[in-house]
Symmetry: C2
Subunit: 407 residues, 2 copies
Amino acid sequence: MSGTPLSELIGHDARIELFKGLRDSGHLPFFREMQSAPAPTTDMEGRPRIMLGSNNYLGLSTHPLVVEGARRALSEYGTATTGSRLMNGTIALHTRIEAELAEWHGTEDAIVFTTGYQTNLGTIGALVPRGAAVVVDQYAHASIQDGCRLAGADMRRFRHNDPESLRAALAEIGTAPVLVVIDALYSMEGDFAPLRELVDVCEDFGAVLMVDEAHSVGLFGRRGTGVSEMADLAGRIPIRMGSLSKGLASTGGFVVGTHELVDTIRARARSFQFSTAGVPSSLGAALASVRVARSGEGRALAARSAENSRFLRSALDDRGVDVGRDPNVAGVSTSPIVPVHVGDDLRAIRAWRTLFESGIYCNTAVHPAVAAGSALLRVCVMATHTTAELESAADAIAHCLDLVAVA
Amino acid sequence: MSGTPLSELIGHDARIELFKGLRDSGHLPFFREMQSAPAPTTDMEGRPRIMLGSNNYLGLSTHPLVVEGARRALSEYGTATTGSRLMNGTIALHTRIEAELAEWHGTEDAIVFTTGYQTNLGTIGALVPRGAAVVVDQYAHASIQDGCRLAGADMRRFRHNDPESLRAALAEIGTAPVLVVIDALYSMEGDFAPLRELVDVCEDFGAVLMVDEAHSVGLFGRRGTGVSEMADLAGRIPIRMGSLSKGLASTGGFVVGTHELVDTIRARARSFQFSTAGVPSSLGAALASVRVARSGEGRALAARSAENSRFLRSALDDRGVDVGRDPNVAGVSTSPIVPVHVGDDLRAIRAWRTLFESGIYCNTAVHPAVAAGSALLRVCVMATHTTAELESAADAIAHCLDLVAVA
């Protein structure tokens, strides 16, 4: 509040003040520092803590083949490409990983971006003319909503996971073709999209469906490409997007589809053309991760992730903790993300703090990441957690919820 | 043109057809594949070629200390954090590099993003309320223009590097404070902003200046932080942005400034909060690069880059090639980017192809990356080029321009 032009531009912001207050008192659930790789038990701020907040779903970030893939790429290509893919940033590893992603997904082509956020921004921007309607699930990831904004699209939201609400939105627009964008697996609540019903509605209207498999690639389907494959709908979804930053233990995002789709993105996507390519070691790690995910070992890790999730859900249920309905899809699998609903933001932060002190880290979702009054602890399992770790975590979660209920 | 909803959505696009035609005939100057690290001579598509298109300005992407920094981070932290900085993506290396960037720049604080593109998007979005005016140089980087669009700002452009045009834009807006965003060194033409004059105008109007040092950090100033420091203006520029993806041989971007600025970005920037942190090896490389850039060795490499640029400019001039005026700043340094103006897009592509066949790679900037009819070969030097390489390149450039002038 020094009265500088910058202070005036920023203005007063109660949220920043709250952040600073919580940080100074050690209660801020954000920006906590890890001192080791994300593992079932991770060194965080001076002690080992059970890690229930990582998107390292398959445990690949320390897998010997994945680490070796990164190391080899670093030796062969140095620490950076220093250029945009368009100019001086394409290395042979890009060609290789794009070919492998396309083969894995059974598509003609694939394109890799430096981040998943930029993948959604660039893809939506490449496909949607200014002012055109785009229909998105109300809880679609921030990068999808930002992609619509940046494209200058007329963004319409339909009620979360509600095919009839999507139908009403498309009927209102009338003119085909319209882009529809959804997540396959929602990252905060851990619930799946009702993909078959949504695909049917899109086909009724000649709409083009784009599915974000950021949190599901590597985990679902016989070949591991995600929920679209698991639901046997991959052939009816023209645009599939995935992340390299979560289960695949790197950084980046990709889109798979026809040559026509991928050539269009290459030629038009600004976040692809005007950004430096990812570092070679991240490409080497991602390529090795894809290969592990496709192997028998990878499919076994995915099965183990589902078993761990069921075990934790059941252990929490036994202790009277509400984790909602198991979002079991056609009896095939379950989500690694287990939402523990708390409701009030400050109560969620107190619960998080109690857990952290007892040696457990999970994520906290407060407004505006979730609706006001719907704060939750986002607990998620890795394939590599032991049942002893998960049981001890269930005890601690039940205990901390009792404490904040009383307080 | 299969008549699918996707084809209809994409529509006909002559530019994509042109891309495909050039690609099929081997003449597309984009997406050429490197088979080694970017070095003065780089393996590209089956043979060594003199690399005059890399932003690896200081040659750090293969520097032993930088490679070792990446390798150590990979061993200690695994291949990925798999989380947003906000949640489960902050590792001790983030804390360390942010402290070092702040110390280097002499600011209170610093924040690192996963890409430079996201740094500009997130920072502008964190500072500019919807509908508020932002004034940008007409040639400001795409990420700055996209940042204004995503923020829903009222973006006004002033004439490139023209302080009087900036003054007129600010006078027209009237109400302070307004954000003004410029590049310090323009990436295609290689020219510098007239920083002192622009700072004066901003101060006259109480406007807040943000300077993008993406292509200048590591190269200029006694301490190497960029053009702002070289011009002795760092203390008068409230927002300095830099890239880790070019001279600093990694991927990512950063902002340095006051605690108030950085806390605001942390709390508000969506491209920061909703994107996975960079891989540990990229942070390790960036931290090591910053340390080399700050050292005597780094400052000697920056001097060598300027000498190489002067040598190439002079060699081209001797051969009758127009590279414009040397954008010498106060007699102190010169730009590593040497624009060779060609004019017509297709002629530039033919010139590029001739050079490529003779064993030289440079970048090609055609419309819309530059104004129509202003196509150029973007030639840039590294500190590590030998004079023999540069002389041989100057011969080849002069020769290829003669060829396309006749054709």
